[in-house]
């Protein structure tokens, strides 16, 4: 990711964009922040936010034309917020913040012509920036058209009070001083800049030509050093627009005096339409609160109540849907920046490694985002970068990569044409996790396929998804090369996939290999011949689509058709099909961040009280392991006792290895009548209590690791002994991890009391005693 890509990605997340009210406000009052403060009865804070943009809150709270209200997302849900009235309440109940200090004097003199809203605004803003300002007003009072507002609405003492206050620091006011063409020439000669805020009508005649040539973005006139804004040039002659153009003219004058660009970085000045997306689904209408005494405005309590109707517009659509995005307490725009920074660190702690590795890569965020920002792509690329930089934490994915190596190793991998066939028209590729979870179903499905179709070969192994998820392009390429070699040796054919992750990997990375899902095949060719006889079926089941089928609507349809064909009643989950959620296995989230993974899976299984049915072995096992009764589609095809089957916990990691190895051995012997040439695992019988088995499983220690430690300890005698308990304790480091096992030899094997591991190595052996 380079800077340009970073900025493009950041721009896709609109969470930090202004809410519609602020964008529609020509001076961009932080309405959302102000209303949040009012809703919490914090009027001082609310007034402080308001006066950041607006020097006359009492006046504007009474006269503002409120373009914000037309943009308010509440407008069809009980009417737009009464924003001006709430501003008035802020001015009434909030303590004015201490006046901001003027910048030190900069020796420039500015003449402001006209004491209406725009002129007073320009004079106020430039005085605060340290300029010396003289304001010339033709009449005997400040305020211009504000005086046309009725006194009931705008009390005169408030009008004069706020305007005088705004000019009290650093502005010399000359009333009763009409400006003529001659005086304008004199001002132009005398002052460093002149502002014309002369309003409409005959009094502006002396400047007619200049006003006709005002540039709309910078408010310059054809005469150098003379600027003009306010009603005289307004497309919309409103009070709030006069303040807005006045503020922007003041920026131009300040830049002009500093001799810097008048045009740089002036996007989004004035009113605009925000890109911020806010989901209004499920929001109940709440009627507007009217002041009981309209002339007096809101009471404090009424204002609080009205402000509480504010929706506090924001997007966060993806964050609401994803426990992972929620976990880190922010949103994609920030995450993208954190990931970019993380990848750029040369020295120091890369504190966002876990954030990058915790994403399930399921892509739901991209599906939900109104601007298609997909964290899966970003996190996946970041992992590849980390691997390339040699900065991927070794512990992050090693266990899954070992599991993959086992599936593709001699003990479990198998490629054969159908017994008695020379060639393949089809190749059944059941996937490593179905072979690990339900090897008997792999056997049965393979038998069915051979009855249904000619020349169906078999390929047991892993598609390489764990390597892909881990950012290990090298190992992924190796897994694909292994597939291609086997595929070529079998003579090609159409590949039948029973795992949706394999399907996704094939479709994306082996597009030239013809592949179809087992479910599509069954739904086209009819139920398999050995499908279970009609039996008592469970009540309705909710369908969980594996996240890797997100864009496979044909598979979604085939699965539902099959379920109905088997007589099942099905219901849909709120997040299904292209909006389905990950079980937490995807992207190796479960390995990288167990806390987030647990939240993800718990949230998913709580979405529906019904039992679930799915068509991914890992989803099924993850759910059933957390006591959510879940059936695999093949369970429904092949099992009789579905109640018991739905509760079956997934096999432990060691068992998964054994299941794959046994599947290969059995098929080889029974179908191809070949002996297994590879030696079986170390013939050491282990006895583990449920408690110990669960503990070592959690620590990702396999029984084969334990066997290796015992074999090593018994062969070398390198072990400790506890004379009180008779236990032995030994360690062995076959590769990157040292495993420790506490055990006792018993008659028929070894009783295992405990096992633990670490990655640190002993580098300096103790000195040998004499």
């Amino acid at each position: 990711m380079d800077q340009k890509e970073l900025h493009a990605l950041e721009a896709q997340c609109t969470q930090e964009h202004a809410p519609p009210c602020t964008a529609a406000c020509p001076i961009h009052v932080d309405v959302r922040g102000m209303l949040a403060a009012v809703a919490a009865d914090h009027f001082d804070a609310a007034l402080a936010l308001l006066t950041k943009r607006l020097p006359f809150p009492g006046i504007i709270g009474r006269v503002c034309e409120q373009p914000c209200r037309a943009a308010c997302n509440r407008k069809d849900l009980g009417d737009a917020l009464m924003i001006a009235a709430l501003e008035r309440a802020c001015a009434a109940y909030g303590a004015p913040p201490p006046p901001k200090r003027r910048l030190p004097g900069r020796g420039k003199r500015i003449a402001v012509v006209g004491g209406g809203l725009s002129g007073v605004t320009v004079a106020h803003d430039l005085a605060r920036k340290g300029h010396r300002v003289t304001l010339f007003e033709a009449t005997e009072r400040l305020g211009g058209t504000l005086w046309e507002t009725s006194e009931d609405v705008l009390p005169r003492d408030l009008l004069t009070g706020e305007l005088t206050q705004a000019l009290s620091d650093g502005v010399e006011v000359k009333l009763n001083t009409p400006v003529t063409t001659a005086l304008l020439d004199a001002l132009h000669a005398d002052f460093d800049a002149v502002y014309l805020g002369v309003g409409q009508g005959p009094k502006a005649d002396f400047a007619r030509e200049l006003l006709a040539g005002v540039a709309p973005d910078t408010f310059t006139t054809p005469r150098e050093g003379v600027f003009a804004a306010g009603r005289a040039i307004a497309a919309r002659p409103t009070f709030i627009e006069s303040i807005s153009t006045g503020q922007r003219a003041a920026i131009s004058i300040d830049r002009y005096l500093q001799r810097v660009s008048l045009t740089a970085s002036r996007e989004h000045e004035g009113a605009y339409i925000t890109q911020l997306y806010t989901n209004l689904g499920g929001i109940a209408p709440v009627p507007v609160i009217r002041p009981t005494a309209p002339a007096a405005g809101y009471t404090r309590a009424e204002a609080v109540q009205e402000a509480q109707r504010c929706l506090q517009c924001e997007c966060l659509e993806c964050v609401k849907a994803c426990a992972y995005l929620q976990h880190y307490g922010s949103y994609p725009k920030q995450y993208v920046r954190q990931i970019y920074n993380n990848l750029s660190i040369v020295m120091g702690t890369r504190q966002f490694n876990t954030l990058i590795n915790s994403c399930s890569l399921c892509g739901l965020c991209g599906e939900i985002c109104p601007y298609d920002l997909n964290m899966a792509t970003i996190c996946h690329e970041a992992r590849q970068t980390m691997v390339a930089q040699d900065r991927m934490p070794p512990s992050a994915h090693e266990f899954a990569l070992r599991d993959m190596a086992f599936s593709n190793g001699a003990a479990a991998r198998l490629a054969r044409p159908a017994p008695g066939s020379e060639r393949c028209d089809y190749i059944f590729f059941p996937g490593c996790q179905l072979s690990a979870s339900a090897p008997e179903h792999v056997e049965r499905a393979y038998a069915d396929l051979r009855e249904m179709l000619p020349n169906v070969g078999l390929l047991l192994g892993c598609c390489g998804a764990p390597a892909n998820w881990a950012g290990r392009s090298d190992l992924f390429a190796e897994a694909q090369a292994a597939f291609r070699a086997d595929y070529a040796a079998l003579g090609g054919g159409q590949v039948i996939l029973a795992c949706s992750t394999c399907y996704q990997m094939f479709k994306t990375h082996l597009p030239d290999v013809p592949a179809l899902s087992l479910w599509e095949l069954f739904s086209e060719h009819g139920l398999p011949p050995s499908a279970a006889a009609p039996r008592s079926l469970p009540g309705p089941l909710a369908v969980h689509d594996p996240c890797t089928t997100r864009h496979e609507s044909a598979i979604h349809e085939s699965v539902r058709q099959l379920l109905r064909e088997m007589g099942l009643r099905i219901e849909e989950l709120p997040f299904n099909r292209e909006r389905t959620e990950c079980c937490s296995y995807g992207g190796l989230m479960w390995l990288a961040n167990r806390e987030v993974a647990e939240t993800v899976v718990q949230r998913r299984i709580a979405e529906q009280p019904l039992d679930y049915v799915t068509y991914c072995a890992m989803c099924r096992d993850f759910f059933a392991d957390r006591q959510k009764p879940t059936l695999h589609l093949l369970d429904i095809l092949y099992e009789d006792d579905l109640t018991a089957r739905a509760m079956r916990p997934g096999p432990r990691f060691s068992q998964r290895h054994d299941n794959r190895a046994r599947l290969k051995r059995r098929l080889l012997t029974e179908l191809w009548e070949e002996p297994m040439s590879e030696p079986p695992a170390i013939p050491i019988q282990l006895l583990l209590s449920e408690e110990v088995a669960a503990r070592v499983e959690k620590r990702l220690i396999l029984e084969e690791d334990i066997r290796e430690v015992i074999a090593y300890a018994e062969r070398t005698g390198n072990r400790f002994h506890n004379p009180q308990t008779g236990h032995f304790l030994a360690s062995h480091r076959p590769a990157n991890v040292t495993y420790w096992v506490e055990y006792t030899p018993v008659d028929d094997g070894y009783q295992i009391h405990n096992a633990y591991s670490h990655r640190m190595e002993i580098v300096m052996q103790p000195e040998k005693a004499e």
């Binding site: 890369r350 004379p723 009180q724 308990t725 032995f728 670490h758 640190m760 052996q765 103790p766």
Partner: protein, 70 residues
């Protein structure tokens, strides 16, 4: 790593090779290019070093994670 508050009470283990009790001494452990001295029980004669479960699953794991993010 050297700040690990290891119990200095002798562990219940003896060296199964020679039957000798273990002695406490400074041993260097390392991960990803960083090395630390740690006081560990070991057999001086057979040079077997004991890494107890609390250390492996506790402070050692923390330091491993920290070094992995460096």
């Amino acid at each position: 790593m050297s700040d690990v508050p290891l119990s200095e009470a002798p562990p219940p283990w003896t060296c199964a090779r020679c039957g000798e009790p273990l002695t406490l001494g400074e041993i260097e452990v390392a991960y990803l290019g960083s090395a630390f001295p740690v006081k560990l029980w070991h057999c001086k004669r057979c040079r077997l070093v004991l890494i107890p479960e609390e250390l492996a699953q506790g402070r050692m794991l923390e330091v491993e994670k920290m070094l992995e993010d460096k």
